[in-house]
Amino acid sequence: MTSSPSETETTIHPLQEFADEVAGAVGGEAEITFDTVKVRVSPDQWVSALTTARDDLGLVFFSFLSAVDWSAEVEVGDPPGEGVEERFEMLAAVGDLGAGRRVIFTTDLPKDSPVIPSLVDVYSGANWHEREAHEMFGIDFDGHPDLAHLYLPDSFVGNPLRKSYPLLSREVKPWPGTVDVEAMPGGGDETDETSEGPSEENPEA
């Protein structure tokens, strides 16, 4: 389990206990990344994990469902760097309505045939989110009542959010990489090193 780099080995993250509780209940692996609890499960545990989360852990609020396309070669933006495993990482964020605890359940799907059972019977809100993930990533949701296009026109071909899908405007003008820093009008760069505030006394007080 990783924790924020600034913590020493002896301090326990305040969310650790909760993360362990969730991981234990669903049979997954917990990770705390920058104050966010992520619990990794396998694809066949997907529905049961979220059902447990809803029924036993009180995480009744459905936040979002989406995916991340991890690819070594990308058409847009910068590649992820060395040693990344090519996969679709599914994300389902749920939370409770009391203390505001939240968990992002995640699972990995293979790139060539991403299929995962649908969550519409567990959380009704998953309906639209899965439609969006389907049209944007090409992920197939087993058991979804109607995987029609949500945002894109019905005749649209392709999955725009895949890293292999180019951004047409960038075909014309290449990705600037590290040199896209323009000076702001009025002299200073907003990313200037010096950022001293005004004098101590509050002029408005």
């Binding site: 600034s6 009744v60 989406s66 990313t191």
Partner: protein, 396 residues
Amino acid sequence: MVLDQDLVRHLAESSVSVELETEDMTLNIGPQHPSTHGVLRLVARVDGERAFDVHPVIGYMHRGYEKLSEVRTYPQITALVNRIDWVSGYANEVPFIVAAEKLMEIEVPERAQYIRLILTEMARISSHLVFMASYPLELGAATPLFFALRERERVLDLLEGVTGGRFHPNFNRIGGVKPAYGSGSSTRKVIQDLPAGFLAETRDAMDKVTVVVDEINSLVAGNEIILARTKGIGVLPPEVAASYGVSGPNLRASGVKFDLRKVEDYLPYHLFDFEVPVGENGDCWDRWHVRLLEIRQSVRIIQQAIDGIPSGPLQAKVPKVIKVPKGETYVRAENPKGEMGYYLVSNGGQGPYRLKIRSASFSNISILPWILEGVLVPDIIAIMGSLDFVLGDVDR
């Protein structure tokens, strides 16, 4: 003649009714429509006055923010992101910037946090005033529109005075808020703080906002017709709301006392004393009433923030070229429309590897097929208006 038992049973069981062949009409509400808050299309089958099988068709405003943000640097995305929910422009930027700052582990100076909080609450007041203006108009009352928008102008003027933009402030920078530079040759390097008189004018504007909210309340609250049009209409049970992901005032109107400002730490709300208004029945009236009460609470927060604002720098020290180290995080905030969150996956580059934008209105209107089932046609407008969504937020 004695009727045998089978025949009697058959006659008793068969329903002898003439089925009137009535065709139901498919009604298309939108995408151009005064009441749909933008380009939303509802395809409804209407039988007489009742609507069945309502399908929202969205995507007319899809701008591809998530794909775009993969090719933008963080300051550029700040400019993009406040166009998601354009009515409350400033509030969209904050969770994104906080997410980036979390990954960079930057501590934002207190004064900047207070300024962010004040501007976010002003954005909330602005958004709810638009609701106060447009919802009675959809029911037929034309006058609250003018009162609410007139006071909103004050708030927008204040926002413009500080940030330079009424709707799209683009005021956040990684590490704080944007310090203003002078424009003359001698003042170019002098960093200016908030404009002179801003805090005093804000106090004044908050008083006026309180007055107009009371006026609109008196105009609307006791009105029999408004009560008849909104009480008991569009009841949303809390379990259904939670399952669909409905958040914000819509969820609180159903009786769930849950406000992200109280449980998340993206801004220092724990320093201020404010209540979370909750409704009883989850009908349209409660959704109206909760937003009205929220304006009053926002005024309260702003007044406390103005009284306690500390002095100090406006932005932490950040490197010249911003590169956010590798990591992932999800930061969510209480936007005026509901829960707005950013799931930021960073690779160490100048822009995100993946930015998932969780927008409030998208989940809020996913409930439309459920809530509009079997509803009278005029009530469709009343219910949709009470959900208070913005198409930019839905379609991203």
